[in-house]
């Protein structure tokens, strides 16, 4: 039960690059940059709102995780199913959720996509294939497998992807799901956003598995470890997994190594890691990486500034809209218990 050195448990994300990829054109990358910045700014704004007391409960931001979400959205079809954790703002925004309604939902306001009933931990929009974030660690994973099973039963080629954290791997139902998904060759992608922490505990303190992507090998499942911070790498890995899934070759497990730059949730004391550790990771974070990649490809700083300014304005507007939006009608407290 000795604690391993924290430093040793946080490898550079760079080290995990499976293969460098340059699969997307600059034209494709520019809107992805925009989206990544939008997610970042929405979440930073939410953190501010939380600090000012406007948001209660548990709000988890994905600052530093945007690569997984934006790469995924580019790789999958709009009708492919997605489930994810309470840390799910980024996937939803990347798939096209309106920031206004997203922020309203977090604030519990009426225009929220779920009328303010679900809040930050339950982002969803079935019309965008977003089938629900979940507050219970791991619970969304069999849901995605079940959606993949539905596709198989119906003979459709819609596939499912599910996102979960490194800490979720130790919930038993993950393992139950892996076995069935592989046995039945379900069209599902298991994407682990490995940020090396399970809440305030470094994963190395409680896990005896050294290489997370090896975890599913006992089931004979295809699995890869990638740099989850490089949006092109993510795009590439998910595209390949989706192709396999649609071809009836079964599930793929992807370990996307990443790092959470903000606290586990709003209000996290962050006593469990040093400022240096976070600083070190900033060099590898998705937005910085993509920014540099675009400059390297000849995009001007000016053009990127312009994108960012537009986004700033959009987010600013969304926040204002949400703050002024009405509360749901009190009668809503009693609706939606049963579908009638």
């Amino acid at each position: 039960m000795a604690e391993p050195s924290l430093k040793a448990s946080v490898p550079s994300a760079k080290a995990a690059v499976a293969e460098p990829a340059a699969v997307l054109s600059t034209e494709q990358l520019l809107p992805m940059y925009r989206m990544m910045f939008l997610i970042r700014r929405v979440e930073e704004s939410l953190l501010e709102l939380a600090e000012s007391g406007k948001i209660g409960g548990a709000m988890h931001t994905a600052i530093g995780h945007e690569g997984a979400a934006v790469g995924m959205a580019a790789a999958l079809r709009k009708d492919d199913y997605l489930t994810c954790t309470y840390r799910g703002h980024h996937h939803s925004l990347a798939r096209g959720m309106d920031p206004k309604r997203a922020i309203c939902e977090v604030l519990g306001k009426a225009p929220g996509f779920a009328k303010g009933k679900g809040g930050s931990m339950h982002f969803l929009d079935p019309s965008l294939g977003l089938m629900g974030a979940n507050g219970i660690v791991g619970a969304q994973v069999p849901h995605a497998a079940g959606m993949a099973l539905a596709s198989k039963i119906r003979g459709e080629d819609r596939i499912a992807i599910t996102f979960f954290g490194d800490g979720a791997l130790y919930q038993g139902l993950m393992h139950e799901t892996f076995n069935m998904a592989q046995k039945w060759k379900l069209p599902v992608i298991f994407y682990c956003e490995n940020n090396r922490y399970s809440e305030m505990t470094p994963i190395s303190r409680t896990s005896s598995v050294s290489d997370i992507y090896q975890f599913v090998r006992a089931y004979g499942m295809e699995s890869v470890q990638i740099d989850g911070n490089d949006v092109e790498v993510v795009y590439d890995a998910i595209s390949k997994a989706a192709e396999r899934a649609r071809a009836g070759e079964g599930p793929t497990f992807i370990e996307g190594v990443t790092y959470r730059l903000a606290g586990h949730m709003a209000g996290d004391l962050e006593t469990y890691r040093t400022a240096e550790e976070i600083e070190m990771q900033r060099a590898y974070e998705p937005l910085t990486q993509l920014h540099q990649k675009l400059l390297d490809r000849g995009v001007s700083e000016e053009e990127l500034n312009k994108i960012r300014a537009e986004v700033e304005e959009e987010v600013q507007e969304a926040v204002e809209y949400a703050l002024e939006a009405p509360w749901p009608d009190i009668a809503e407290a009693y609706t939606d218990v049963y579908k009638v």
């Binding site: 779920a114 507050g135 849901h143 959606m147 039963i153 139902l173 069935m180 218990v337 579908k339």
Partner: protein, 327 residues
Amino acid sequence: MRKTTFIQAVNEAMRDEMRRDESVFLIGEDIGHYGGLFRVTRNLMEEFGERRVIDTPISEQGFMGMAVGAAMVGLRPIVELMYMDFFLVCADQIFNQAAKMHYMTGGLLHVPMVIRGQQGGGKRYGSQHSSSVESTFAQFPGIKVVAPATPYDAKGLLISAIRDDNPVLFLEHKMLYFTRGDMPDAEEEYTVPIGKADIKREGKDLTIATFSYTLLQALEAAEELKAEHGIDIEVVDLRSITPLDMETVLTSVAKTGRLLAVHESQANAGIGAEIVARAYEEAPYLLKAPARRLGMAPASIPVSKPLEEELLPWKTNIKAAVLEMMR
């Protein structure tokens, strides 16, 4: 008219709905090739194939969760739990997921699924294979609970459960499986509505509200009480636990003035206590004597036959409770 067993009725309901609706499928342990430990799903794999009758590993959390997921996108899974006691192994998927999904998504999603299987005491299965779970499920809004006592009601209610857009728990009592009852012709389609009680015996002195196997026990108790003491019991078969048809119960109490609720799940914070509380909330003036409930005594079910019989709220215990109330 023909007679079938309870098992046959449940099996027919699944078969008919699977023929009618492509989106219905079955998932569970040993249900396919073997036809179910209690043989309730027999022949269904033969007719519908492995695509729609899925044998799973012993992974209740996983397959319950997959059923929830499949239902979220519009399929209608029927999940068999081999013994209802095993809901404890996959309780999160049932209560935090299936039951809450519609509410916490503001109505965007719903989960049309059925969880079914057998429960109850009387066959010496002991502590971990004999529990009755209806009262626990009643504590979670968002899921409906039905527990028929006759083959007729079983078939009709299961069809309603399958067609319902919400998660529905369908409870079969192991003591009911080989009981037989009248049924319409196999081709004749009918349903029994969820949330509607049925008077199974008329009487004027005291109302017993119950369901599932204790209904049969209550009917026997009623006959004996009539013969031995001239007490005339009205027996209301609730059939649904959630939603509860208090209207039928209170209409009966308006006539009898006395109410005893009986169920096999634990008495403590059980559905019987709920029925008593609602009676006092909704129509206290109807009661000529204090309303009572009788549930399983505070112990888990032992294997030893005489001990099991002592604890279950069956005929002997029902009669004793009635006699006390009539004093």
